[in-house]
């Protein structure tokens, strides 16, 4: 549903993306990975029309996103920017209610649909109990779920999230990713996220995009593309790729890079050559989802 044609984008003098052609599949959880400063956030911000490209276009269902009214785009595409500013003293329900902005006018500031959408978004993101709490008093994980609830209240087909798990501890990371996974599988939303953790990307993504220096190195299902060679090419890191014991998805284990680490290592893996490709017969895993 989202694609780019000959996209050139950057900041000030620096060109980050140079002539990018990309198609993001609809009804999939797409994860964009890559080393720092590879342009993945730039790509996401350009896709979300937060950044104006220097050249080329972003297409939303075939139409140039820049030529669509921004309110209309906001009804089809929800965006969670990287570390959004938490307004002081605003309650959870109030902030989630801001997600209804694209459906409101100053003379029609609230409707039954707005109320229903906010209710549902807060239930989905599991923040309904926090409705009356000021957002700035919540923990990092709770805040992130509130922001996701705000974008859910927008009631869009697609959601774009820029590093939604940064600054969260592991349990909260899993919680947020499980939520995104449920949105894809249970609600049929198209989800696109930039993630830092390759293993989480492999575990949750239907479609993985690996970027390096502003270009796409590989794109496809994680089990098909995530290999030792790809990690070396994209991150410059030697590693083992083994099937995850829980899900069977590819699991990236960095090779030993320091001799002092090797001394304490009990694993037989000793070098960068011992890559284990993920075969067809990897155990078909199920994604454990957090029960409510």
């Amino acid at each position: 549903m989202l694609s780019t044609r000959d996209l050139v984008a950057g900041y000030d003098e620096r060109t980050v993306l140079d002539g990018l052609d990309l198609d993001l599949p609809a009804d999939a959880f797409t994860v964009i990975v890559g080393p720092n400063a590879c342009g993945k956030s730039t790509l996401l911000r350009t896709l979300a029309r937060l950044l104006t490209p220097r050249r080329g276009t972003v297409l939303l269902d075939g139409a140039a996103i820049r030529e669509l009214p921004t309110r209309e785009v906001a009804r089809r595409l929800g965006v969670l920017p990287q570390s959004p500013l938490v307004p002081e003293g605003v309650t959870v329900a109030d902030l989630v209610g801001r997600g209804r902005q694209p459906y409101q006018r100053w003379w029609r500031q609230w409707s039954e649909q707005d109320g229903a959408a906010v209710d549902q978004a807060m239930r989905l993101a599991d923040v309904a109990d926090l409705a009356d709490r000021p957002v700035d008093t919540l923990s990092g994980g709770q805040r992130q779920r509130v922001w996701i609830a705000m974008t859910l209240a927008q009631d869009t087909e697609a959601l774009l999230l820029d590093e939604p798990t940064t600054f969260l501890d592991l349990a909260h990371q899993v919680e947020v990713l499980d939520l995104l996974h449920r949105l894809r599988t249970e609600r049929g939303r198209t989800v696109v996220a930039v993630l830092h953790d390759l293993n989480q990307a492999a575990r949750y993504a239907d479609h993985l995009i690996a970027m390096r220096a502003g270009a796409v190195v590989a794109a496809g299902p994680p089990r098909a593309i995530l290999t030792t060679d790809l990690v070396r090419e994209v991150f410059g890191l030697d590693c083992l790729v083994v099937p995850c014991p829980v899900t069977g998805a590819p699991l990236v284990v960095p090779a030993i890079t320091s001799p002092t680490l090797a001394a304490g290592a009990s694993s037989p893996a000793t070098g960068s050559s011992g890559a284990v490709p993920v075969g067809e017969d990897a155990p078909a895993g199920s994604y454990p989802s957090k029960g409510n």
């Binding site: 906001a74 920017p81 959004p84 109030d94 989630v96 209610g97 100053w106 409707s111």
Partner: protein
Amino acid sequence: MSAATRLAASPDTPSAVDRLPGRALLRVGPVRVQIRRRSVLVAVALTGLLAMAMVLSLSLGTPYVAPADVLRALSGAGTPYDLVVLNLRLPRLVLAAVAGAAFGVAGTLIQSVARNPLASPDVIGITQGAGLAATVALTSGAAAVLVAPAALAGGLVAALVVFALGTRHGLAAQRFVLAGVAVAFALRALTEVVMLTADPIDGLRAQVWLIGTLAGRGWTETTWIAGTLLILLPVLAWAGWALNSTALDDDTAKGIGLRPVARRIGLAGTGVITAAMVTAQVGAVDFVALVAPQVARRLVRAERPPLLCAALLGALLLVLADLAGRRLFAPTQLPAGVLTAAIGGPYLLYLLLRGRRRPS
């Protein structure tokens, strides 16, 4: 239509509509406006206080007119006090209320957009720009009718300079307030130079203008300010709603379909025009635009200053300041600007100290 006005949803029956805590929906025909329940209370209370202060202001003075006679004179019944109440005191009083409200509106708009309680027109140079232009007009022998237009132009130009210097990284950056304070100091220094080199009598007139006073002013000034507010009324109706999004960062605002830069220009521009206009008419009355929005915000317990309550509070502050200026050291008359500074400064300090101790 008259019966269509009602407050929907009470706190004990949480329906799907009533998802916003502390808010209610005001329905007037097809129009649906979110209002804070608490701001309704505060607005009603402020209106009552303002009415009392206005009657008091019409009543006190020499001669004293009993409040009952004030009300009779206002109702047009024809009393012996008509001259004092309607011709001498009322024009100045209405000007105080309208100018105070305009200061409250201007302060709310600029502070909200800059996300900084210090970003008020009397701190960031708009008042000082108007002051310099007025001083030049008053000391250069220009016609008296030119003082207000000159001050209006001076305020607008100063605002443009501050915005040009301070908005490289969006208005919210501290840079904006710093640029404003710097411009304000530079303009004040220039004003001093103009005053010192001028004829002493002209310098004194400029001095009085710079403090800001309502003495000898009335319907003409009121018409200019009220007319400006009236023309801006559709914008202000929109602003009451648009101000809700000023607390969001630009990416989040764009994500929910807003155009934050256009919004800031619209809101701040409205505030600047209002501030320059009211300053041009009543002089450099300090602190009302700074204090009224912040006190109103604390009364309403909102995350940003509420437009209507700040206007009412601004009106109340200036009416009381003018009354105190007239009566405290009677027969000596103090300009309203002296009183607003004397009350406003310490009160803001008190609020800052109190606010710091509160956990929230």
